[in-house]
Symmetry: C2
Subunit: 221 residues, 2 copies
């Protein structure tokens, strides 16, 4: 049942998918916050997505993407991340500039376009922020990673992804010499505010806040 999804429906589905990554089921308020709309609008849309069998919705209780909905979400995310890869690797965008543009490009739904773009780019596995790109069957290359905040002291690790699209944060990170593939270790942790002193390999040491350390995902070597 390959229904044509409106841009709005696509955005809701994608947001539900992302929110489900962190918690088992999603709340109306969380979705409203994520998508910058009001809870009442979320309820309206949930009823529509329910009739299209894209979510399993129990009013007042909870909702999740259906198998159909999950598949649709992966398609949208595939397009989003392929375009981000294209923008950085072919058009010389920086990693903090691409998210906004990809938010628009992801809604161009031609399958032929997406698959040809994928081939043109050499079937990349990860986008510029380290997030995995689903292949044309919706299969994702999951990688082992943990928040930098949880990395034990004095353990060398490699940055695998950054779980936040704020261009503020992203340009701060690249200005500090932090990007996907950067090797670093945590040297100290301040009890006062939970900030971390980190040593970037072959570079200077800097302090980062707990929030930033939680957005950065690493793979201990």
């Amino acid at each position: 049942m390959l229904t044509n999804l409106s841009v709005s429906e696509q955005n809701y589905i994608k947001s539900i998918y992302h929110l489900q990554q962190n918690s088992e089921s999603v709340t109306t308020n969380a979705l409203a916050g994520h998508i910058k709309t009001k809870p009442a609008s979320v309820t309206d849309m949930l009823k529509k997505l329910q009739t299209k069998n894209l979510v399993n919705y129990n009013p007042y209780k909870s909702f999740r993407l259906s198998r159909e909905g999950n598949k649709a979400a992966l398609n949208i995310i595939r397009r989003h991340r392929l375009w981000e890869f294209f923008l950085v690797n072919q058009l010389q965008f920086t990693w903090e500039e691409v998210h906004e543009v990809a938010e628009q490009l992801e809604h161009v739904t031609s399958k032929k376009l997406v698959d040809k773009l994928d081939a043109f780019l050499g079937y990349p596995g990860f986008d510029p922020h380290g997030d995995p790109i689903p292949n044309s069957n919706g299969k994702i290359n999951q990688q082992v990673q943990m928040p930098l905040f949880n990395l034990p002291l004095n353990t060398l690790a490699i940055i695998t992804s950054v779980q936040n699209q704020s261009s503020d944060l992203l340009s701060f990170l690249s200005n500090s010499g932090i990007t996907i593939g950067t090797k670093l270790e945590v040297k100290q942790k301040l009890n006062f505010d939970n900030s971390l002193g980190i040593k970037i390999k072959n570079k200077s040491s800097i302090f980062i806040s707990e929030q930033i350390a939680n957005a950065i995902q690493v793979n201990p070597l």
Copy 2:
């Protein structure tokens, strides 16, 4: 006054621009036919475009794009044609496949994206159908051309563009060895139906209808 235009507004403006190429001013019915909507909807949209100063609209009389509207149209057309060029030259689409996809891509309005795409493609002057691509200032490379139907007999000419996006027609033409840059001459014209016998350089002769001959633009050598 760089107002944000909805997809619908963009489609209306683009259509008005194209219709103005052929006749001085545009009629409500012609626009409705072109955009596959009803005359009443056109009137509604004209009133909105008028308040945004994108058209000069005299109810019951006529309407044209304003200077503003013209500029907006050129921007949309620039995006459309750049993407068509990209699809054919980078993603290996054929010239009859690109129009439909470009209809969607043209509505992604990021100026940075468009300018970087332009640079990436090497600032192409013409799209895969031979239509000129406006530069970032809206300037167009006009070429001297005439309908193949008007080409005198036995005059060598080069095909410069095809003024129709029907994929039917476009694949017929490429299957017949006709594309942008093809050299040919008209050998005979049947009075019965105005069809033309044309000789493609280094290839066989074929007959084409008056309609097709009028869609093909050539430059006599």
